[in-house]
Symmetry: C2
Subunit: 244 residues, 2 copies
């Protein structure tokens, strides 16, 4: 039986999503931890995620698929066992049967990422979860974010490495808003290149602090010049939802 | 010049407040980190805290005092330098001059501790910051907490070790309430014994889950019998304020 697994994880406890060779307990990936938890209930399955997240990047609703051996039919019991092994930094929210044609990565139609910032007093408790910045004009930040909406070749907003792909992506929605004491920048796109969200957010913040002009960012989007390839820290980035 | 330093810290990054012999960067105390930060600005001072916090216990407003050498007069600059060295898990909120008779520990009149829990869906992001429990009746929890209010000998609510002291303490206020998706248990007392708050909270939670009767807890408070010496995890405990 193929199942779709929805889970959340605190990325600060992992070296990223992708399984590594020779992982140790102190230095493990999300996929590695899940693979090992599955082994403990006699499931030798390959974990296929909707996409990779880098070291320190969190997920509130990541999606995976795996193929279960025939003897596992009680999915609630499986979820409970796995959550026991995966605590405290990974939590499986649901395990549901899907058609054998379901593929967590290839069938994903949209992905929603959020980047969390705050501009109040520094909070050591948020160090791994949000980026502290100087006072921000969120109305303007929201306007600036619109420059990324649409179908573009984002070659100049990706980190090299991690395989070659075409660089055309569609961003359906982008924006920024305040939520309680936090500031959220969001991007809803079909897919994202390596570190693309952190690089786009970095350029938007530079426009906010007048280190860059918005026209410079547009020029980079149009692949005329590279003005900013800064990656803002992974701590504020959350894979928030994957749509099928 | 003697100064009073107010600071917050994420206890999950430290082996507790108290300085250890042979600390390493991966295994350091709050007082050790501050002592080393002070050395970097040529201050060889002894850090005196209002009290110790155990490994994993947080502080939103811990208080220290130190004696500054005469050459340090610009306290804002000192604060800024120290915060640079102490980031990301310790943050100095203020440094203010005080009389040389001020003592962070001996002059403290009241200490406020909060224990944070939540009874909703499990959140991996809260693993180091709040304890996950089954659905709780907070109205009742608030009632139960009142049994600790007053002047009592708390000998049966302390963890052994860490020096001998008299065990009489006064708790001025205690209670529990919901705040957003969290549940807060609080104790305002003159001082607390080692692990006292975690042990008191543990016994109250057992009354909530009907593992214990409230009368059993009262009997333990009256040193008639020990019914619960469970320490609930350090992750939910915050030294919230020290009053002088």
């Amino acid at each position: 039986m193929r199942v779709k697994i929805t889970l959340s994880y605190d990325g600060s406890a992992f070296v990223g999503f992708q399984i590594q060779k020779n992982e140790t307990k102190a230095c493990q990936s999300v996929a590695g931890a899940i693979t090992r938890a599955l082994r403990r209930v006699n499931i030798n399955a390959t974990v296929v995620g909707s996409g990779r997240t880098d070291t320190g990047v969190h997920a509130t609703h990541q999606v995976l698929h795996i193929d279960l051996p025939a003897f596992w039919t009680d999915l609630e019991k499986l979820q409970s066992h796995l959550n026991g092994f995966l605590a405290p930094y990974i939590f499986i929210q649901s395990i549901t049967p899907v058609d054998t044609s379901f593929h967590a990565r290839f069938n994903a139609k949209k992905r929603l990422y959020r980047y969390v910032l705050y501009d109040g007093t520094y909070q050591p408790f948020l160090a791994n979860y949000a980026l502290h910045v100087k006072a921000l004009d969120v109305i303007k930040l929201n306007e600036y974010a619109q420059v990324f909406v649409g179908f573009h070749n984002f070659e100049y907003f990706k980190r090299l490495g991690g395989g070659t792909t075409k660089d055309e992506r569609t961003i359906f929605k982008a924006g920024a808003y305040r939520y309680k004491n936090l500031i959220i920048i969001y991007f809803l796109g079909d897919a994202f290149l390596r570190s693309q969200v952190r690089m786009m957010c970095g350029s938007l913040l530079k426009v906010c602090t007048q280190e860059l002009l918005l026209d410079d960012v547009i020029a980079q989007r149009e692949r005329k010049m590279k003005v900013s390839t800064t990656l803002i820290p992974a701590c504020g980035l959350y894979l928030s939802k994957v749509f099928y």
